[in-house]
């Protein structure tokens, strides 16, 4: 990350090549903050119950299967 940032903020490098275009470090920082704000906003949103229900169901199915096989051993 830091190597890349240093390379990118070097002025005058490759200004005729758009993917090596120089971005001001402050611009990069601003974009970085917005990216985190966008992402964390969703990360911090409540998780719908359906996902926990789904995983509990999957686990129950597996435990039932495991229960059957351990009963066989007895």
């Amino acid at each position: 990350m830091s190597n890349l940032d240093t390379a990118m903020s070097e002025p005058g490098a490759g200004d005729n090549d758009d993917f090596e275009m120089v971005l001001d470090p402050k611009v990069q920082e601003s974009i970085g903050r917005s990216l985190k704000a966008h992402y964390d906003d969703i990360v911090n949103a409540p998780v719908p119950d359906k996902f926990l229900v789904l995983l509990a169901q999957l686990e129950a199915i597996e435990q039932r299967a495991a229960g059957v096989s351990s009963d066989d051993r007895k």
Binding site: F19, V27, L35, E62
Partner: protein, 200 residues
């Protein structure tokens, strides 16, 4: 559920299954955020996360303990998106607009406008740039992990990130230091995004 069942001594397999399940639960918020960033729709994102969890569960034995569960799950989610959801994503966005316009934000009110503008700009990036920018810039994955997830070289990831940042700066009209005052950023972004909302 059956944890306090007195007679049952839990087997190793059961223990591993529970551990795996807890790992999946911990990653759900990140999966939703990545899925929403990819598909541009919260509704599609949740369908995508559900598919990802089902696939992860049925392929649990392929996960190598000690490696990054997040990277493994992102790989599944991304493959699922590109094989099944990409087209639907465009249709949903066309008919309902992106989640940027509809989604309730959970942060503070002040940042609401900025966030909505940023999301509109993010949605305009080519997918290959958007996904790596999110992976590297927001999820905590390394360039190496992003390269592995996308199946490309690290150098490719780096140049995609560069291009994505440059394009975002352009879309948000924050190309120079002068545009970057705390109050002027959103004004410039609004103006720019508003006038370009029909194009590209």
């Amino acid at each position: 559920m059956t944890a306090n069942d007195p007679g049952s001594c839990r087997s190793t397999a059961e223990f591993r299954a529970t551990e795996f399940k807890d790992g999946l639960i911990r990653e759900i918020p990140n999966l939703r955020a990545f899925a929403a960033s990819l598909s541009g729709s919260m509704q599609l994102a949740d369908d995508l996360v559900q598919d990802t969890l089902l696939k992860a569960w049925s392929n649990a034995e392929k996960f190598e303990p000690g490696t990054s569960l997040r990277a493994w799950l992102f790989t599944i989610l991304r493959n699922t998106y590109y094989s099944l959801y990409r087209k639907r994503g465009r249709e949903v966005q066309d008919s309902e607009g992106t989640y940027a316009e509809r989604m309730a934000t959970h942060g503070n009110q002040e940042s609401h406008l900025d966030l909505a503008d940023f999301r509109k700009a993010l949605a305009k990036l080519p997918e290959e740039q958007r996904e790596v920018l999110i992976m590297v810039g927001a999820t905590g994955l390394s360039y190496e992990e992003a390269a592995e997830i996308c199946g490309v070289a690290i150098g490719t990831i780096k140049s995609r990130v560069n291009r994505a940042r440059t394009k975002l700066a352009e879309l948000l009209s924050i190309g120079g230091v002068d545009d970057l005052g705390p109050d002027r950023t959103s004004a410039a972004a609004m103006q720019r995004v508003g006038s370009e909302s029909v194009g590209s």
